[in-house]
Structure formats: C-alpha cells, structure tokens
Amino acid sequence: MNRLHSPALYRGMTQPRTRRDVFRLAGLSAAGLALAACGVQGQKAAPPKADAVADYWAGQKKNGKVVFANWPEYMPEDHGPLKKFQQETGISYEYKEVINENTEFFGKADPVLRAGQPLGYDIVVMTNGIQLQHMFELGYAVTLDQSKMTNFQANAAEAYKNRAYDPGNKYTMPFASGFTGIAYNTKYVKDDITSIQAMFDAKYEGRVGMMADAQEIANFGMIALGVDPEKSTEDDWKKAGEKLQAQRDAGIVRKYYNQDYIDALSRGDIWVSMAWSGDVFQRQLAGEPVKFLIPEEGGTIWTDNMLIPKGAANPVDAMMLMDFLYKPEIAAELDEFIQFVTPVPAVQELLREKAASASGDDKKALLDMAESPLMFPTEADYAKLHSYTPLTTAQEQVFNPIFQSVTQA
C-alpha cells in the first residue's frame, strides 16, 4: 500500500501534462469521437400493414416452448397456471421475474431491440404509460394475432378490451390492474380519510408522502383540481404543477418516494401517502395498521399488459399462453394469489363458489377477496378511476419538466 502513495504518483497526478501528452490524448479522443459521431439512430416505426401482420403470423409455427418475463410476486409460487398450460398444450415454459420498473426495463431493452437483437423473452409485462407507448412507437411490440384470442374475446371484461392506450388490443393483453390511491397509518391518523384534500391539509404537515413518478403525481394534482387526466391540456398540467409546488412549499410533503413509501408509511415516518393498492393489501395481511382508499374525487387505475417483444423466438406459443390465462378457472387461480384486479369478471363468482365449499380461515379469506372492492371494483368505483395522461413524445418533453421541477428541486 505504501507504494501506492509514492511521491512519483502524486507528482504524476498533479503536474500539468506536457503539450505532447495533450496532443496524444486529443488524437485518441478524436478517434473515439469519430466512432461516436454517428449518434443514436432513430427507429420510429410506421404502423405495420395488415398483410405484413398476416404474413408474419403465417410464417410462424408452434415451437413447444415459451419464455415469460414478469414482475416479482405476480405468479403463484407453484406456477399452477403455467403447469396447467404445459399439461394441456405440451408447451414447456420458462418463467423469469426480471422486471422491476418500467423505466429501467425499457432503458435496458431499448439498446438491444434497437440493434435488432432478441431480448430472449417471448412475453414481457409492462404498465400502460410512457415506456409502453415507446415500445409501440418504436415497433418493439409484435402485432397480435387476433384469431388466437378466443378465450380473451369470450371472457375479458369490456373495459379491458378497448383501452385508450391500445385500442382493439393490437399489441397487448392485460395481465392485471391496480389502483393508485391514498394509504394512511391508522396508528397516527384517527380520522377516516375520504378526500384527496387530506394530502394538502396543513394538519399533516411534514407527514405526507407523494410519489416521485411524474405521471402518478400529475394525476393526483389534476384529480385534486377536478381535472380528468385523460382529457387534460398543457394548461391543466401547469395548474397541477402549481398546486403541487404550493403543497411542497407549505412543508406538507415529507418526501417524493419510489417504492420505499410503503416502509416509511408502516414505520410512521409518514402518516398519509400516495400508494399502490397491492402493496397496502400485502401489509394488511402482515398485520400492519395501514388502510387503503380511493379518494372520493377519484384515483388512478393502471394496467400491466402482456406483449410479445420484437424478435421473440416463439410468438405462437406466447399467443397461446397469453390467451390461456383468460380461462376463468386459470384467471381465478392466478388472482387468488396476486390479489389485484383481474380482467376476467367471472373470477368473482368462481371465488364465491370456492368459498362456499371451503371452511374456516380459508373461507373467510376467499369471501373477503370475492367481495373486496379493491379486487372487484363496481361500476361506480370504475367511474371515479382515471388513467394516465396519454402523451406524445413532444408533449412528454413539456409534461415531465413541470412535475420533475416539483419532485427534484
């Protein structure tokens, strides 16, 4: 270690370079520049023509295997639904829990797909939002074969067939939905919170957690102002930005959180927070004093979607698996574990039937699920749920700075 601290080293580090050194360095850099100057190529893809899609699918056949990339805790541990798929079709599966964040996943997938290489997955799951939109626009999503969606057509709820971000299910089939609402810690908050205005109440100064994600926080700002995010304009974004800025300047917000909000909430650093429904559900099961609600003014509904990435090796097998998950008994088995909103409404009745024949704790748990508005929202619940603001790339460059200047000041 002594040698590391030799005087010669310090002299070398601190003495100015000679001119010759500088020229040499410059030469090397120039070579690098020449390499890099070609830049990052754009790939904006025109929507595929109908016969091109037909041709693509005509050229594909069943290969007997499929690779499914999903988020953690999104499949029963025994892989029940996937095992049944294997038994019924003879297609073997590989299931990988490799997606943790849409931004990060897109950031990693983009260079690979841009270079025209396969991701190595036949199905990936992404939330509706900016990154999913990018997948469509860059031609990274395979256009689905509508003729192989029989279970989907028969069993999916209407609301999941025609979503604003993917009309006609051209590229995606929903995996599950969830909500962004408010969670609070009942150890510290004794009132029943019902309104989104609680997030702006000086009573909870320094005890409110907001999310760092631009689309999530934008929705809360707009809902608090009575604006429907799906129909919002640039003017609405600015007003929402001002409302959130005022909330921050008043010292109400403790911090802008990522996934770590749920720990802060359960240990009492924050008392009221924006929250994702499934997280709160899991904490409740663990016996923690947290409560989730969708504010009376409205909340956000998001959907995680299955899609086939460009270059997938087994698209036919992928289509079969995605459609298989829409069989009511399979969807029920899946939802009993993940406890989010299933796109298959028949699951509710199946859970009730299962509860009727079960006993003891199982019966209670199944009944709770079947009657939970967080798993089976009613029409009235859906009416107050909003989706994210649909954004073009140009709009995104206006939208993001408005909200990031609040969360990242």
Binding site: G107, L138, Y256, D269, A409
Partner: protein, 283 residues
C-alpha cells in the same frame, strides 16, 4: 525485442483504458452535443446550448452537491484523522485488527447499509423513538429527510477511504523524528504541528480526493435519506438517462460535473502545494 517488452506488457492496460474510458467518454461528449428524442433518434447538431440549458435548469442541484460533498469531506477529515492517528501510533500489534474492523461494513452492500440507516433513524425508530419516549426530543423532531441526514450518510459511507490513506502516511512517519523534535525543545503540540502533520499531508490529499469526488456525485444517499429539498446532481443525471431518456442533457450534466470536479482538484492541488509536501515526505 527486449526494448519493446515493457511496452508490450503495458499494452493490455492501455487498450483497457482506451476501450473502456476514452471511447465511452468520447461517445458521451458526442451525445452531449446532439439533439432529438428517443423515438426519432438523436442527431449530431453541435448544440453547445445543451450545456447552457442543463446548467440553467440544474445549477441549484449542482451547487448543492458540491456543498454536500465538501461538507461531508470536511466531516470525514475531522472524524477520520484522529482515528488514523490512533491506529498508526497507538494501535500496537493489533493494527491490522482495527483496519479490518474499519473495512468490515464493506462486506455489506452500500445501498443496503444506507437503507438500514433509514430504519435506524426513523422518526419512531430505535434511536429517535427511545429519545422521544424519554422526553429528550419533541414528538415532531426528525432526522430523515433533512440535509443533515444526507451529509451524515455520505460521511459514513466514505469514511474508510479517508482514514486509510491518512493511516498509510502516518504509519511511515519515523517516531524518532518526533523524539528529535522534542529533544530540540518542541512541545508535543509543536512537534505534531511541525513534524507529523506536514508528513501526513499527502495522505490527507489522497483521502480528500478519494472521498470528495464520489460523495459529490452520489445519488443513493439523497434518494434514501433525503427529503424534498435535497436532490443531488447524481439523482438528476439518473432521471435524465433512465426516466426521461434525454441522453444529451444527461451527458452534458455528467461532463459539467466532471469538469467542475477536475478543475476543483487541480486548484486544490496547487493551493495545497502538494509537491513540496511530497518531496519533503520522500526524503
């Protein structure tokens, strides 16, 4: 052939530097001057305005990062120097044990350690909760989500990188020099000031270098321990790359940060007159 051998032996490391340092840096420099978006692609337009825009928008965070980095480095120096001194002169035969203990936390991932600080310092956690129940602190007092928490986290995470170089330079100080100073009627304080301290300055220089740069660029502490007004430049760069996919702004910010740090270091080296100190140490 024999004359070429040293060059050939050095070739792999030069190639390594060229491929993994110079090329990415050049690519980053190039991207920082491009315009476009992730959908249409980015094209080279030599838009130096990217730098102005990025700096105009994020100067607060840049200045804040430099401030946090400098404060944390100063704190590390104040805490670390006595520790290094103690291990070097009073450690006796157990020196290596102490050094090992110092490095022990590094067997746990850096992010995990920072997150566990979040649990330790929680408002009703082990430390603050106890003090609050004794009535020492008011119920509203909190450490997390303040600049203090971020700076303390930075200080904790890089402290060993300050202590080790100082220890190494102190370890090389010949105790007989101190004795000689005392023979010449220097008090213990004077002997430290005139003999030990100057001889340890190279270690201090290296320690500051090894801690100030990573502490200034770090995004993790601000994200885990900070609050609404503690965003550092590292967080901004991360967001620009991964969330906004605005590669030119991210590259411009990275370059600006690098340039500011390099200039700062050269100025620091000049002001401290390190070379003289080094030459003195070498004799």
């Amino acid at each position: 052939m024999r004359r070429l051998t040293p060059y050939l032996l050095a070739l792999p490391s030069w190639m390594w530097l060229a491929i993994f340092l110079v090329v990415p840096l050049a690519a980053m420099a190039s991207v920082s001057l491009q315009t476009g978006n992730v959908i249409d692609g980015f094209v080279m337009t030599f838009s130096f305005g990217n730098y102005g825009d990025a700096l105009g928008t994020y100067s607060t965070q840049l200045v804040r990062s430099l401030g946090y980095g400098a404060t944390a480095t100063a704190a590390m120096l104040v805490i670390g120097y006595p520790v290094a001194y103690w291990i070097a002169f009073k450690g006796g035969s157990r020196k290596s044990v102490y050094l090992f203990l110092l490095l022990l936390p590094f067997f746990v991932s850096f992010v995990l350690r920072t997150i566990s600080w979040g649990f330790l310092l929680a408002d009703d956690g082990i430390v603050l909760g106890t003090l609050k129940s004794w009535g020492v602190l008011s119920a509203d007092f909190h450490v997390l989500a303040t600049s203090f928490a971020v700076i303390a986290g930075l200080t904790y995470n890089w402290l060993p990188f300050m202590i080790l170089p100082i220890y190494v330079s102190l370890e090389r100080v010949d105790p007989r020099l101190v004795e000689a100073a005392q023979d010449l009627y220097a008090t213990r304080g004077t002997a430290f000031r005139k003999v030990v301290l100057p001889l340890s300055l190279p270690g201090v220089f290296a320690g500051v270098l090894m801690t100030f740069v990573p502490a200034t660029a770090d995004p993790v502490n601000a994200q885990v321990l900070g609050g609404t007004g503690n965003t550092m430049i590292g967080n901004i760069i991360q967001t620009e790359y991964l969330v906004n996919n605005d590669y030119p702004t991210a590259s411009a910010l990275s370059f600006t940060l690098m340039a500011v740090l390099l200039v700062g270091i050269f100025v620091y080296a000049r002001v401290l007159g390190t070379e003289n100190v080094l030459e003195a140490a070498a004799r």
